[in-house]
Symmetry: C2
Subunit: 271 residues, 2 copies
């Protein structure tokens, strides 16, 4: 299928992109907006289904970009070429590379997708900033986490800013969204996966905790942490000791430190 | 001194704020723009000199904000009240809290400011994203680092976005900017501080490296790392092992993992 020109801002494809870009309620839940050469390459590498590709008039500055377009054309994908100004109005990036794709990241079921021997789960409970969630997912994938769960009230994994900050990791790590706290806890209980709540000051020091076994790390909202009163009062907690006078860590940094401590322990003391 | 009204966008104070907000070349190097209630509170807590405060017409939604204004008024500071629309045009934040301050973060000299017994230095060599640098500085302060250095070609520590991502840490940790690589290396050599280059794959595994002694951790550009060919060829390097298939870590996350491993080792094995 060849490249088609598309110039109207009222075209249905353009409207769909805009809904996804602004994370409007009416945006189709099954589609995720992906921007940039590297991200689209990651989509292909992960065998994620691409629905539509939009390319700006000015696309093709780099050899890598041209190679990518060649691959997309040869795959028989629908490619729309749109005017630079229209493209910019859809793009969320300052220095846009002129390529957007609508992709279908498959939905996972919490029950069936956990194949790991010693599962390491990451659960985001109320994180608001898509950059933080994306960075956390990137770190989870790098630390070998089995799955990412988010509870209701957490920014979407499919938010274009989350996708970008994850540097492609959302295409590779299984995730499930919008869980109820009880559903998540029940899932862990059934599989004897201890849940560890990351706390600013409470609980055990993280590196004195045995993280070599199955484990789910729970990270809360940037400002208020996990809502303990509501549902997390009985959970075991760990904290990351800091230097005197220090106040707090960025939630993505805290999560990464915990997950890489688990990887360190698993590497140093294999079961 | 009472609050004065200020309505013209051509007022010199407004012009100065705009230069700082856009990180223009002509922006006064001695001033840093700080935005938000919490950040201005941190400035006061750190005894940083405040030059000017700008408050929007709509300021004062929160009790915490009103308390802060009271403290600022009592300190005899120059406070300008400006129309909401003008304030928004200066603000870099979506949900602005209606308060900006121009502050003077004192310049440090690399030679004289290193009092720590077992110094832990963080050196940023080419980081471009202010969010990454700020997050890194926040993690460095939390891990008890003695100082942050940046080499030429790194985004400014005083960039408003860096300041914000640091969550106030830039007001507490000593830093020095725009060093030449040779100057930084010479400084470390003279004090027998080993420099460790953070690498994606090369060198020793980070947790097998002894980080209990004096140590400078060097982090490079988000895409290309430290420019080895130019000046860092002879440096010792460490890497963070990742799960199979994982590509890379965010630079702030990598730096945080390294610094907290140093803190972990120092806590577990005090000298």
């Amino acid at each position: 299928m060849s490249t088609r020109s598309l110039t109207s801002k009222n075209n249905p494809v353009v409207k769909t992109v805009r809904l996804l870009a602004t994370q409007a309620r009416r945006a189709p839940a099954e589609l995720t907006l992906v921007e940039g050469v590297r991200s689209v390459e990651e989509v292909l590498r992960a065998n994620i289904e691409i629905s539509t590709v939009l390319i700006s008039d000015n696309f093709g500055d780099s050899e890598r970009g041209l190679r990518l377009r060649e691959v997309l054309v040869q795959s028989g994908l629908k490619i729309y070429q749109i005017p630079e100004a229209l493209f910019r109005s859809l793009s969320d990036v300052k220095a846009s590379q002129g390529i957007l794709a609508l992709v279908r990241i498959p939905a996972r079921k919490l029950i069936t997708d956990l194949a790991a021997d010693r599962p390491l789960l990451l659960c985001a409970a109320g994180i608001q900033d898509p950059g933080n969630l994306g960075t956390l997912i990137r770190a989870a994938a790098a630390a070998g986490a089995s799955m990412v769960c988010t509870l209701s009230g957490t920014v979407s994994v499919r938010n274009p800013k989350t996708v970008r900050a994850s540097a492609g990791a959302v295409f590779h790590i299984p995730f499930i969204e919008e869980l109820a706290p009880e559903g998540f806890l029940e899932f862990c209980r059934r599989r004897s996966i201890p849940v560890l709540r990351s706390s600013a000051h409470e609980g055990n020091c993280y590196f004195r905790e045995d993280l070599t076994g199955p484990c789910a790390i729970l990270l809360g909202n940037e400002g208020s942490g996990v809502d303990r009163a509501a549902w997390a009062a009985g959970l075991r907690s760990v904290h990351i000791p800091m230097a005197p006078g220090a106040e707090s860590l960025n939630v993505a940094v805290a999560g990464a430190i915990l997950m890489f401590e688990a990887l360190r322990q698993r590497t140093s003391r294999p079961s």
